[in-house]
Symmetry: C2
Subunit: 205 residues, 2 copies
């Protein structure tokens, strides 16, 4: 039967996971689909737009949690923290995804609306739009930068498999990364709190 875009994207993601972004070439992708490279150009305009679709796929369904019953003063913080954890989890599912998302975002091809969700949470809590956008972008830069370094480090660590002795690292690195991730998110949320109307403050209660 004929090649479908869905199948192309699925195979591309498999190559990404198994061999990484630099090995995800149009020729190799075509090979895995038992087709010549030129055949791909009937289904996609070029490599960049294919990569953009991969990013959309990776980020699809990422949602901000609903408002809970707790006081609004804590709510924004819990929601942004949970969203940040979910985004990291999603990125960690695909090799080199943080690098890929950051690249596509930088040239405006995909993932550009990623900071809209955290920004609107902050605006709903009383932050003005300009500060909310900057704060959301700051959060996103941290997330992509941190996860990118995690993924790059994991790859360097995978090369040390044929190393001299059995080192006690492995699961440890992932845990340490999660801890420093949470700490960085916490720092940024603290910074946001300063710019937010204080709940116990005289002119707000």
């Amino acid at each position: 039967m004929a090649l479908t875009k869905t199948e192309i994207i699925r195979t591309a993601l498999a190559i990404l996971d198994d061999y990484g972004l630099t090995d995800l070439t149009m020729r190799r992708l075509a090979d895995n689909l038992n087709v010549k490279a030129s055949a791909l150009y009937w289904h996609v305009a070029n490599k960049q737009s294919l990569l953009a679709e991969l990013v959309n796929q990776i980020l699809a369904g990422l949602t901000m949690s609903e408002s809970g019953p707790e006081p609004a003063a804590q709510e924004w913080r819990r929601r942004l923290a949970a969203w940040s954890m979910e985004l990291r989890a999603r990125l960690l599912e695909h090799r080199d995804s943080a690098d890929l998302v950051a690249s596509m975002r930088a040239i405006g091809l995909a993932g550009t609306e990623l900071s809209a969700a955290p920004s609107s949470v902050l605006q709903a809590t009383g932050m003005d739009p300009e500060h909310a956008d900057v704060a959301a972008q700051t959060l996103l830069y941290f997330i992509l930068g941190h996860v990118d370094e995690e993924q790059q480090r994991a790859q360097l660590g995978a090369l040390a498999k044929a190393g001299p002795a059995a080192e006690p690292t492995g699961e440890t690195t992932g845990e340490a990364a999660a801890v420093s991730y949470r700490a960085g998110i916490g720092l940024i949320l603290d910074g946001m709190a300063v710019a937010l109307p204080q709940p116990g403050h005289p002119d707000s209660g």
Copy 2:
């Protein structure tokens, strides 16, 4: 006379500035030096190590300001803010430099010590080493992410030169970027302040 490493690096930086990172190829670099591509491999091990030297060159001489006469409680903030502005200014001198620095950092080839300076300022102000490292990294991710987007946007804007009408953008974009940069840095510094011993607090004065 014979080719020198200094000359190679200087020419590579010139190509980077004029044509961008994707056009900085070994073959084009060799052409600009009136030499064949294979000749470059007598002077550098491979392209990556050459890029690492470019990063070192771009970041060379970047320094943290000395302590001033003001109270320590404000000092760390002024020093980190000034350092952040200096780093941005240095990055803006070379096209695609934020992308380049982030890439080299991610694989541990250059710029890895970049967060050492802000971390030690925070430690000198009383923050414990673990939190100081996380805070410094958070600052750095923001800086590289923000400047990368600035530089990418500037390039997209340069393509709109043959656009329909004379738009009022141009100098405006750079100013807006500087404003949001300062705002983001401010937010991160606010987050750091929360983790720092408070000067007016009972158990510190």
